[in-house]
């Protein structure tokens, strides 16, 4: 073969200067990251702007300290709660065998379909002083107000419970993936060194799943921080309340943006702290020959495990769904009609599907870009993209609105200059701006999921493929994408459900006459018609549920072998 000059060996006309840094894929990834990170960056940029000190000093002097305290407690509660429930559920279902495990494995994902604000509505309706439960209690025992103690739903504790009930799913999904992808060999090594299965959980599985758990908790916290609907309904005033107050009540958008930027800074700081505390340690596994062997939990232990998995499912899904059904049945007024429902569901599904697909593609691109990049710049950019999730929806909506309308107006101007007629706003009026807004907000979810798994693929896999002649782009398609199939599905699923539930951006960015299940729920709920809002809420849950079930079973199947 030596005598045949290989055609491939023809030297490239232009020397590729250090292909690692300027691979086109990496450039593309950087461009996308910059684009999606733009609104977040513009929010952050407000920090540089001199604030109207009036608003600041007023807020700082009156309500801000309380808001901050509430926020900290809320974060601590939701963080600890989601971590405990999510990791516990993932650990039980991946590492053990007990009655109903197969069912729980996918059913535990269901609470994700339940929007936190809907959860807040139904639990409040059911549990508050005037709700059916307390009323029944009072009537049965002839109690008066103050005669008995009952936990107040609309409180900090209640808000934490609501968030944990639905957001633990993030931790569950990511931790579960981490446990499954973890080389069984490491656990075996631990057991050889005298660790019981429980001890190996705390000393091996958990530390190794740390990036995944951290990612899951980060998602849960960011969603908590960005939430306004639930906390406002519960009258738990958080930092986000402060942002809305500065903006809407005090009419100071700059101060609001500055507050939002502070929030982001806080989140970024947390993330950086978590990363740096990992030090030089790695969490990837080289040989993943054997998956973990499931320990069998028999007798009482088995039933306890089943009970442990039932509780979050009950809290986050079964109970609220039943309450919603109860509300919907009790609603005497005429409903919306099936046709209208079908239309709303279709709109929601289109948006969610579209966004999920794009988000997964972009997340894969960005995560892979960061893997390719030898310098930390790409990773920093990805973190910036990730911050979008922590920005309250209305703030991000406006953050998106500004660049998009500017671009739109510029385009219109160009069009007019060239063709003489005014086309109006091309992007703002369509779905694309909305999808962009969703991406800015939810790409983080997909990115965290994909990154957590990509990190676990040994770099030798890339190198082996490259030595077999594949370019980086094709490696992504032929090696990483299939290896990440489970994570990609998970990511798509999370984004899909998140978009189904999203409200503030959908409300303000949508095209004319474009209603979704979420906007419909809002319209009714804002009018304090909870009973009527139950139906579209149920529909959100239902429409979100179908792919959820299909996909989570798919994920369970893809992990076999």
């Amino acid at each position: 073969m030596a005598e045949k000059p290989a055609p491939l060996s023809a030297p490239p006309a232009i020397p590729v200067i250090s292909s690692f840094r300027v691979s086109p894929l990496l450039l593309l990834a950087l461009a996308v990251a910059a684009l999606v990170g733009l609104p977040v960056a513009s929010v952050l940029a407000n920090l540089a702007q001199g604030g109207t000190s009036d608003t600041w000093s007023h807020l700082a002097g009156t309500v801000l300290p309380e808001y901050l305290l509430n926020t900290v407690w809320l974060c601590l509660g939701v963080g600890a709660g989601t971590a405990a429930v999510g990791v516990g559920a993932a650990w039980l279902t991946t590492m053990h065998e007990f009655p109903g495990r197969r069912f729980f494995e996918w059913a535990l994902v269901l609470p994700l379909a339940m929007p936190a604000y809907v959860l807040a509505y139904v639990y409040t309706d059911f549990l508050q002083f005037v709700g059916p439960l307390q009323t029944a209690l009072r009537e049965t025992f002839a109690w008066q107000r103050g005669d008995y103690w009952f936990p107040e739903v609309r409180s900090l504790g209640g808000a934490i419970a609501m968030f944990v009930s639905v957001l633990y799913v993030y931790v569950y999904l990511l931790a579960r993936t981490a446990f499954l992808e973890r080389s069984g060999g490491l656990l075996e090594a631990g057991r050889m060194l005298g660790l019981s299965p429980w001890a190996s959980f705390f000393r091996i599985s958990l530390p190794l799943a740390r990036p995944a758990v951290a990612a899951g908790v980060a998602l849960a916290l960011m969603e908590t921080l960005a939430d306004y609907g639930t906390v406002a309904y519960f009258a738990v005033q958080t930092f986000t309340t402060g942002i809305y107050r500065a903006w809407f009540s005090l009419g100071d958008r700059v101060a609001a943006a500055q507050l939002a930027a502070c929030l982001l800074g806080f989140v970024a700081l947390l993330l950086v702290l978590e990363r740096t505390s990992r030090g030089r340690a790695r969490f990837g596994n080289s040989g993943n020959r054997r998956g973990p062997a499931r320990g069998r939990l028999v007798g009482v232990k088995g039933w306890l495990a089943a009970l442990g998995c039932t509780l979050p499912l009950l809290m986050g899904f079964v109970l609220p769904a039943l309450l919603l059904v109860r509300l919907a049945l009790g609603d005497s007024e005429e409903g919306l009609g099936w046709q209208r429902f079908a239309l709303l569901a279709r709109n929601s599904a289109i948006l969610a599907t579209l966004t999920a697909l794009v988000a997964v593609l972009l997340a894969l691109l960005l995560a892979y870009g960061a893997r390719l990049a030898k310098r930390p710049a790409a990773r920093v950019l990805n973190r910036l993209v990730g911050l979008g999730y922590a920005v309250p929806g209305s703030v991000i909506a406006v953050g998106v609105l500004i660049p998009v309308t500017r671009l739109d107006n510029w385009l219109a101007g160009q069009w007019q200059a060239w063709f003489g007629s005014n086309p109006g706003l091309l992007i703002t009026g369509g779905i694309s701006a909305l999808v962009y807004a969703y991406l800015v907000r939810f790409l983080a979810v997909a990115l965290q999921t994909v990154e957590a798994s990509l990190g676990k693929i040994t770099p030798h896999m890339d190198e082996a493929a490259r030595s077999l002649g594949l370019t980086q782009g094709r490696i992504l398609v032929r090696v990483h994408a299939p290896l990440l199939r489970g994570s990609l599905l998970t990511a798509a699923l999370l984004v899909f459900v998140d978009v189904m539930k999203e409200l503030p951006a959908t409300l303000v960015m949508r095209p004319f006459n474009f209603d979704t299940l979420a906007t419909q729920t809002y319209t009714l709920a804002a009018d304090e018609r909870l009973a009527e809002a139950a139906l579209p809420s149920l529909a959100i849950v239902a429409v979100g549920l179908l792919p959820l079930i299909a996909l989570s079973r798919q994920i369970a199947r893809s992990r076999k072998g």
Binding site: A189, R191, L193, G194, S196, F283, G287
Partner: protein
């Protein structure tokens, strides 16, 4: 008071169509303080057997006892962490999130704090990684990682150590040094050990006893000397050491003729007096055809010898060259010749036999039942 005892252990992996029996009825006994080695071709079930002993695989039949106490039998299974067995994994299985020192200290939970670090230091010194304790596994070379795995398994002073090719990624020198040192440590502490290796020299150097596995069964469990010089069957003869088979004819209870001459065996070829024909004879009797094992050192290069053979292949072995030679009949033999006798491929060189021990097996009949028992006899 045997330390490790396996009785007819069977292990099966489920397959889509049923079961794949990987360990197929293995019985063996490893006395306390003994170092045993498992040799065998790739995929013969060595790792699986170790995993059964360690407690990672449940067994389908048989029984495993450790220090007299049953640890595995169908339906009963002592969890691995309660067996006090140390294990070095083929793929190291180091904890990527812990430093080297923390990896080594991992199993030292029972030790008082003050004693932990000295023990870690001691182990690191042993494997030649002093001062590398603060590194993370991914910052080490493959061989260094393997040494950490070894140190980690030995640190808690287990009752039984299982080593799955612990030296396979080390260079010869380090490998020899380390294997001798590990042997010394094990011997000093009286620890029983089972070692899986592909390297026969290593097995011979380290082990008191060696088991040769094939197809899920132990073919022979013996001392290195016997494995080499008295292989129990054709597979062992073939697998252990080098050599080639030459067809021979039994001419008397102590004599066999082969192409290269007549071989005399002091002991009779153990033919059963009862059998009348070769076919019915479990071993070999006069007139039977046998295959005679010729080790490379049985064939001596002698320029004066009338018998010559052509050089087919040669492998440089340092002091010697291993020649593969083709006889006139077309049969092949191997010869180990000092390396200054450098002959070209195709050259014909003189050889003679210098066998002090005849190993012969009945030539397999058309029916493929290979003889299990050797016709073995020491030379006079």
């Amino acid at each position: 008071m045997a330390h490790l005892e396996l009785q007819h252990v069977v292990q099966r992996y489920p397959t889509p169509t049923g079961f794949h029996t990987v360990v197929d009825g293995i019985s063996l006994t490893v006395p306390p303080g003994t170092i045993a080695c498992l040799l065998g071709p790739s995929g013969c079930g060595k790792t699986t057997l170790l995993r059964c002993i360690a407690g990672f695989e449940e067994i389908a039949e048989g029984e495993i006892r450790l220090a007299g106490e049953v640890v595995s039998r169908p339906g009963f299974h002592l969890p691995p962490e309660q067996r006090r067995i140390g294990m070095v994994f083929q793929d190291y299985a180091l904890f990527p999130h812990l430093t080297v020192a923390a990896n080594v200290a991992f199993g030292l939970g029972d030790l008082p704090r003050a004693e932990r670090m000295p023990r870690v230091e001691e182990m690191l010194r042993l494997v030649g990684l002093t001062g590398q304790g603060e590194k993370f596994p991914h910052e080490l070379s493959g061989g260094q990682q393997q040494r950490v795995a070894l140190a980690r398994a030995l640190a808690p002073r287990p009752r039984l150590v299982l080593l799955d090719e612990p030296f396979s990624n080390l260079d010869t020198e380090l490998r020899e040094r380390l294997s001798l040192e590990v042997r010394d440590i094990l011997k000093q502490s009286g620890t029983t050990a089972i070692l899986v290796t592909h390297d026969q020299h290593e097995a011979f150097a380290m082990a008191d006893e060696v088991g040769v596995m094939h197809g899920g069964r132990v073919q022979q469990w013996d001392t290195p000397y016997n494995l080499y010089h008295r292989p129990a069957n054709r597979f062992v003869a073939d697998f252990v050491g080098q050599g080639a088979f030459l067809p021979g004819l039994v001419v008397s209870p102590t004599e066999v003729t082969v192409e290269l001459g007549r071989l005399e065996s002091s002991l009779p070829l153990e033919c059963s007096a009862l059998c009348q024909t070769c076919d019915s004879c479990p071993l070999a009797r006069e007139g039977c055809h046998v295959d005679v094992l010729l080790r490379p050192d049985d064939v001596v290069h002698d320029d004066l010898s009338p018998v010559t053979a052509a050089v087919e292949h040669k492998a440089f072995r340092g002091a010697q060259i291993l020649y593969t030679l083709r006889l006139d009949s077309g049969a092949q033999v191997q010869a180990l010749v000092p390396s200054h006798h450098n002959h070209a491929l195709g050259e014909k060189i003189g050889i003679r036999l210098d066998v002090d021990h005849v190993v012969a097996f009945k030539t397999p009949a058309a029916t493929s039942t290979a003889p299990r028992q050797p016709a073995s006899a020491s030379a006079a």
